[in-house]
């Protein structure tokens, strides 16, 4: 195989062989309690029986028979991606891993941008999803969405990703409107030892060119564990849709971090932090930078009666330096190109207390405070005023799970939040859970959730310095009076573990939205209409079904199928105006189908093909519907556990077409397609 950066792969293979056969580590003393060895099941019984109890407990095992998990009982539409599922998918980034969640729509826009949403509204600046990494919110208050290219982690150390479709405002607060993505890393106790990975893409394969990562975890005492990691990715340009030529949007990302866990009976203290820096070529010219860091501390105390309190604090810093292309108003040049910058500092404090009030009441309450300091640096065509913007967000929630009958539970509660844009917001919900049998659950929920305004909605200025002579100072402005978008959601679901090998989940929903963002005019402004302004004149209803099924056919073979169906109806409030005719907030395939197979083959091989079919959908093409055609794609990963310490794999992504279209943005940037990609990887675990 010819890898673009073949020497690195060769070096890794050479190193791994040296470590594996050359006894570099084989002569290490008998593992102590905090064993630094993480072998895997690939050897003969003769070898394997040398493993200590501690080592056995650290063995990663595929296809562990499922037993009812806590999430199995949660009355909500949840998909949980385990570390093993992510590893076996060959995903090389968090957005790629999220493609495994049937209840999400994941569309890649170009080399470094994704649009990800649940239950619709996957618009360019999609804004109805809350994303947390180890309890730290990563959505940008600039547009209430996520810069996915700035969210990374060593996937090997991610414990699980929970994807909840449907509102989660009662627990999670504003922005948990259409869904919540909860990314949880393993504790340092679970990541002891050395892990090294590296690899690269085929020469013709533009996406993932070259990557390497290292993690080391150790123990400082019987209850005190640490790890640190570093990783580097280099990704190439995606092709232009028109001719397949490279769009010049390659990028590199470096990230490093640490985590310390002190785990004693009843207490768990975590301190963790990360720093990262990206450099990205932009297809319209110039180089963007995204960098940042965070530090988080969480203390959880569990008492004998199973009640617990947790206190979490974090500080997060992000910096963006983004070259903006020349801006046009219709065909007139409105603003020259320039650099837009954004520096955001966030401080967040969160307290939660959970206890059994009596035999029938399981009570939770908590409060939170968030302070953000957002300093934007205007480009000629884009500004936010005021800057810096200093904001406070206070929240309080209470929730009670009431046992109505021995197998019927009602969970009722609300969050009350105060934000600086719209004041108080309420996010109540009621969830009814009926354990029909031990293995079957029916649930129903009614919830209210809000998306509070972002800076785009309220403070944006689309400056037009080149048109000042015509008294046009701005093309589009946010409205200080922009309201929160409000959702009232009705859900009904069924989940069952029909036998040990077969589980299924069906979730249905009907969502009623009011005050969705629209674009209006300024009567009496320049030319009688300018600047355009963001308003809340759209209403919407969506409804659909999410289906997911897992079948353990045989010990070595697991099948998964998922299907999503989504209907959206968006209209302009009577007597009001939207220049985009209700097209700008949605870009959602009405149907998605996922089929995956996971096989453990003889010879310590793993084969994991994953097929997806994404339906045709429409997007806003300047006030008329544009179309992204449906596509089918296939990813396949083949891995060989050459030894307990060494895993070699080849992953092919989007194999069915040289390149295909996943998303279109109405912008001066040429439309990009997503290419076929094949990469090889070497992973070493000691």
């Amino acid at each position: 195989m010819v890898f673009q950066h073949g020497w690195r792969v060769c070096a890794f293979i050479a190193l791994s062989l040296a470590l594996w056969s050359g006894k570099v580590f084989a002569q290490t003393p008998e593992p102590t309690e905090s064993s630094t060895v993480t072998p895997s099941i690939t050897s003969s019984p003769v070898e394997l029986k040398k493993l200590s109890l501690e080592q056995l407990m650290n063995l990663d095992v595929t296809s562990v028979a499922k037993e009812p998990q806590p999430y199995g009982q949660a009355p909500a539409a949840i998909v949980v991606l385990t570390n093993d599922a992510i590893r076996r998918s060959g995903a090389s980034s968090i957005p790629e891993a999220l493609q495994l969640a049937d209840n999400l729509n994941v569309a890649q826009k170009d080399s470094h941008d994704w649009s990800i949403s649940a239950r619709g509204f996957n618009t360019d600046l999609s804004n109805k999803l809350l994303v947390l990494i180890d309890g730290r919110s990563v959505y940008s208050p600039l547009f209430s969405g996520v810069f996915w290219d700035a969210q990374d982690y060593l996937l090997e150390d991610i414990d699980r990703i929970e994807v909840i479709s449907g509102p989660g405002g009662t627990l999670w607060g504003a922005n948990a409107v259409n869904g919540v993505i909860n990314i949880t890393s393993k504790s340092a106790k679970e990541t002891q030892g050395l892990y090294i990975e590296g690899g690269g893409g085929m020469e013709w394969s533009p996406e993932l060119q070259d990557f390497e990562a290292i993690r080391y975890g150790g123990a400082l005492g019987p209850d005190l564990f640490y790890r640190f990691y570093g990783k580097y990715d280099a990704r190439g340009s995606e092709p232009l849709l028109t001719n397949g030529n490279a769009a010049n949007d390659s990028w590199t990302n470096g990230q490093g971090g640490f985590r310390i866990d002190s785990i004693t009976t009843g207490q768990h203290l975590t301190i963790q932090g990360d720093i990262y820096s990206n450099i990205e070529s932009i297809s319209t010219g110039g180089t963007a930078q995204k960098s940042g860091g965070n530090i988080l501390e969480r203390w959880t105390r569990t008492f004998d009666d199973d009640s617990n309190v947790s206190l979490q604090f974090y500080y997060d810093h992000t910096f963006i330096n983004d070259p903006e292309p020349e801006a046009f108003l219709s065909t007139l040049a409105a603003a020259p190109p320039g650099i837009f910058t954004d520096r955001l500092d966030t401080i967040d404090l969160d307290f939660q207390h959970h206890f059994h009030l009596d035999d029938h009441n399981n009570f939770s309450w908590g409060f939170g405070y968030r302070y953000t300091d957002d300093l934007t640096g205007a480009s000629p065509g884009l500004a936010f005023a005021p800057s810096p913007l200093l904001q406070n967000l206070y929240s309080l929630f209470a929730q009670d799970e009431i046992r109505l009958l021995s197998n019927v539970f009602l969970t009722a509660g609300s969050k009350v939040e105060h934000n600086d844009y719209t004041g108080y917001e309420y996010e109540p919900s009621g969830r009814l859970k009926w354990d029909v049998t031990e293995n079957q659950m029916l649930w129903a929920a009614v919830s209210r959730a809000v998306r509070m305004p972002s800076e785009v909605d309220t403070n944006e200025r689309g400056l037009t310095p080149l048109l000042n002579a015509f008294h046009i100072t701005s093309s589009i402005n946010g409205s200080p009076g922009f309201l929160s978008e409000v959702l009232v959601a009705y859900e009904l679901g069924y989940r069952a573990q029909l036998d040990k090998n077969f589980s299924t989940s069906i979730s249905t929903f009907f969502n009623n939205y009011t005050d969705i963002r629209s674009t209006g005019t300024t009567p009496g402004g320049a030319l009688g209409i300018l600047p355009f302004v963001f308003q809340n004149n759209l209403m919407a209803q969506t409804w659909g079904v999410e289906l997911t099924t897992d079948y353990q056919v045989l010990d070595w073979w697991r099948l998964h199928a998922g299907y999503d169906q989504l209907n959206e109806s968006v209209w302009v409030a009577p007597g009001q105006l939207d220049l985009n005719k209700g097209l700008n907030e949605t870009a959602d395939p009405p149907n998605q189908i996922f089929v995956r197979s996971s096989m453990d083959l003889p010879g310590h091989l793993e084969l994991d093909p994953a097929f997806r079919w994404i339906d045709t959908f429409t997007y806003n093409n300047s006030g008329v519907p544009g179309t992204v055609p449906n596509y089918a794609e296939l990813d396949v990963r083949l891995a060989w556990h050459a030894s307990p310490n060494l895993e070699l794999s080849v992953t092919g992504q989007n194999l069915l077409h040289p390149y295909h279209l996943e998303y279109v943005i109405s912008s001066p940037a040429p439309t990009e397609a997503i290419s076929r990609n094949v990469y090889g990887k070497v992973a070493l675990r000691f």
Binding site: M57, L59, V61, L634
Partner: protein, 179 residues
């Protein structure tokens, strides 16, 4: 070109199926559980009076369907505990169980787990299982999935009332969770 690649992939996947039909393997899960059983044998001490002779085999019993294939017997082959050679014994019914020191109760027996464990209550057998109610029904050690790993829990009420002793190391490594 695209078409031929599609065919190539399809045939690759099909090849996987065919390949698999031929192989019969013990799942990784039960390989690890077998290794745990082997380890438990070394961390649990029975009084020497429990053995009729110095070289009586130390039997690890498997009751019900055998999920270990030959993996467990290959693991214990040639091994011994204080001079007692380790052997694996399969039992079809609870009544057939005798003379074993460790008994793994297979998932196939889950309907009758309560009766089986009640019948074994006064015997000096370390009962190990993986059914959800295993400890509640009176079993001593239960395997529990912990993410992608296999951990185990110990039914402490039972474990404190035995004629044999379980090493503190096993107790310390056990998951603290309750069933």
């Amino acid at each position: 070109m695209i078409l031929s690649r599609r065919h190539f992939l399809t045939s690759m996947i099909l090849a996987g199926f065919v390949l698999l039909g031929a192989g019969q393997s013990v799942s990784e899960e039960y390989q690890v559980k077998a290794l745990f059983l082997f380890n438990f044998a070394q961390f649990v001490k029975w009084p020497s009076s429990d053995f009729s002779s110095a070289n009586e085999p130390f039997r690890i019993g498997v009751l019900g369907e055998n999920p270990f294939g030959t993996f467990l017997s290959e693991t214990v082959k040639g091994e011994s505990v204080e001079g007692h050679p380790l052997v694996v014994q399969h039992y079809d019914s609870p009544a057939a169980v005798k003379d074993c020191k460790i008994l793994f109760v297979s998932d196939s027996e889950k309907e009758a787990i309560g009766q089986i464990l009640a019948a074994l209550k006064d015997r000096d057998v370390l009962t190990v299982g993986d059914t959800p109610d295993f400890l509640k029904e009176g079993g001593i050690i239960r395997f529990v999935p912990e993410g992608n790993k296999i951990h185990f829990r110990v039914g402490l009420d039972r474990a404190n009332n035995l004629k044999f002793s379980i090493s503190s190391k096993v107790l310390r490594l056990a998951d603290p969770g309750k069933d």
